[in-house]
């Protein structure tokens, strides 16, 4: 218990308190930035664990002959070749400024095997996945945006105005309004919504979140909440 509970708790509390105090002491003000670097390095080292998990789950799926184990083979194959090409910088020319340093070149050009995989596999796959959102947005608009009550009505009404106001259609629809009533033109209405209601709503959300973060941090630093390490209450 001591090694698995008490010591980690103390590490968290002391680490957090040092960071908190460092924000106010000039000589160690930059501690947070150093931590950002250190964190990136730890995360990069920890990716060995991620790789282990990926290998293990796919290998066991293959050895069990799960349904679709062939796809697990493909995952492993693409993973390993990308990793080998990338780590060894195969086919990468050195940088023009330091042609004698063998590993100084960048590998993102499609000339290199790693760059090729990036350009022709990763980019189209991830950006098409992202583009699927346009379809989901449409189906959500049809299915979920219904004025079931006043709140839902406000949500969809605002979305409606902003949508129209941000295209040529909005200009055509309300462009005939005379100058003195130009405030009612859709494109202007959507600007007011952004500047007034959206500003107010976002401010409240941001302030609330800040308090929520403060309370969450304090719960960790005061040792009140230990469920992040599975403490789950008074152990």
């Amino acid at each position: 218990m001591m090694l698995t509970r008490a010591i980690p708790l103390w590490i968290a509390v002391i680490g957090g308190m040092v960071m908190l105090v460092s924000a106010f002491l000039k000589p160690i003000e930059g501690l947070g930035e150093n931590f950002a670097d250190a964190f990136n390095v730890i995360a990069a080292i920890a990716s060995v664990l991620g790789a282990g998990s990926l290998l293990k789950s796919n290998l066991s799926s293959i050895s069990r002959r799960d349904a679709g184990w062939g796809y697990a083979v493909l995952v492993l194959f693409t993973f390993i070749i990308t990793l080998v090409f990338g780590l060894a910088k195969i086919g990468v020319h050195p940088s023009h400024d330091f042609p004698t340093a063998a590993f100084s070149g960048k590998q993102e050009t499609p000339d290199t095997p790693f760059g090729w995989l990036y350009e022709y596999a990763m980019v189209p796959l991830t950006s098409t996945m992202f583009a699927l959102l346009a379809f989901y947005v449409a189906s959500a608009a049809f299915r979920a945006f219904r004025a079931k009550n006043l709140e839902a009505g406000l949500l969809l009404g605002t979305a409606f105005i902003v949508l129209l106001g941000r295209t040529f259609a909005g200009v055509v629809l309300t462009g005939w309004l005379p100058e003195w009533a130009s405030g009612l033109r859709l494109e202007n209405l959507s600007v007011y919504i952004m500047q007034v209601f959206n500003t107010a709503g976002n401010r409240a959300i941001i302030i609330g979140i800040a308090l929520g973060v403060a309370a969450t941090s304090l719960r960790i630093l005061l040792g009140v909440d230990r469920s992040w390490m599975g403490g789950g209450g008074q152990s």
């Binding site: 080292i45 796809y71 194959f77 796959l125 941001i206 941090s217």
Partner: protein, 336 residues
């Protein structure tokens, strides 16, 4: 045969037929051309910023070069067509098979992901397996070359990094070195998880990260969100617009004043909605309800804006299919 299967087959056949037709019409289907760039470098003396001589590598004519290699850059099909028209035997601009295959693969993957909209299917599963494998490895490689090498090795074994990777590496300060040692130790403790015994030690670096994150975020959120947004709200509500005659233009003053008041009311009501230890009844309940209205309007506006971006992303993928792959449209005049 199930209806779904039939749909797939019909779709596939139609697509193939269209592709074949497209292939024989006009300029045909997507191909990628490249041209060779000869890189020739030699080391020379040059005056640095402080006046002293430094050795730098400069591009030179091929005859004087001590380092040489060839790089390939993509050429517009138009350039290829013109070059061939001038000299049918030219070899400056050539068809690149790896890149053309890549282009077709990219088109296949694009369609495979789109097919998920109809239903889960074998193409989507292939695409999913590929993207998981490639991208997991991609980020590990980036983590290694962009973080571990310059930051960790750069601080702990700078000579090696200077020799092999980054001759212009700046020496790390004491603080940075210390933090890299700490990172190394914590990283190794993380990896202890893989050892047969003592895996509990991996909880220590995690605890450190969670604690430090808590300490850092409380400061940044309270300062830049809570305090900054509150100050932004604590502004005069009434805004008087001076009129041409030196007095006050009451009508013009009305609108900014109203806007400020609405913002103030909104912030207060929405904050009241977030109160936890007060039941939402009576005045508090009514205020919180107004707060919810504000939140809903905010969400609606966010939604409206977001849709724009999403459609643009889809448009970009269609442009890839129509322009780069099928050569149906040519908005950038790369072929004509």
């Amino acid at each position: 045969m199930s209806r779904q299967r039939l749909t797939w087959i019909v779709l596939g056949v139609v697509l193939l037929a269209l592709l074949v037709v497209r292939g024989f019409v006009g300029q045909g289907l997507g191909r990628v051309y490249v041209q060779a760039d000869q890189v020739s470098l030699a080391q020379m003396d040059e005056k640095g910023a402080d006046g002293s001589l430094v050795k730098v590598w400069k591009p030179v004519p091929a005859a004087q070069a001590t380092q040489q290699w060839t790089e390939w850059s993509q050429a517009a099909p138009k350039a290829y067509f013109e070059a061939v028209a001038k000299n049918p035997a030219q070899t400056d601009i050539t068809l690149s098979w790896p890149r053309t295959i890549g282009l077709w693969l990219a088109a296949f993957f694009t369609l495979a992901i789109f097919s998920f909209l109809y239903s889960d299917n074998v193409f989507y599963k292939l695409a999913e397996a590929t993207v998981v494998g490639v991208s997991a490895a991609y980020w590990m490689v980036i983590g290694f070359w962009d973080t571990i090498v310059p930051k960790l090795f750069g601080a702990l074994t700078p000579d090696m990094v200077i020799k092999w990777v980054q001759p212009s590496l700046q020496p790390a300060g004491a603080m940075q070195q210390a933090s890299m040692w700490l990172a190394l130790v914590l990283g190794v403790m993380m990896l202890w998880r893989l050892a047969p015994r003592g895996g509990w030690i991996a909880a220590w670096p995690l605890a450190f990260i969670v604690g430090v994150t808590a300490g850092l975020k409380i400061v940044s959120h309270v300062e830049s969100d809570l305090m900054a947004q509150s100050v932004a709200t604590m502004q005069p509500v009434v805004q008087l617009v001076p009129a041409a005659d030196g007095g006050t233009d009451w009508y013009a003053s009305l609108w900014p004043t109203l806007a400020n008041a609405l913002v103030l009311v909104g912030v207060i009501c929405a904050l009241v909605y977030f109160l936890f230890s007060v039941q939402h009844k009576g005045v508090v309940g009514a205020t919180a309800r107004v707060g919810v209205w504000y939140l809903m309007i905010t969400f609606g506006a966010s939604f409206g804006f977001t849709v724009m971006g999403r459609i643009a992303l889809l448009a970009a993928r269609f442009e890839f299919l129509f322009d780069d792959w099928l050569w149906l449209i040519d908005p950038n005049h790369l072929r004509s």
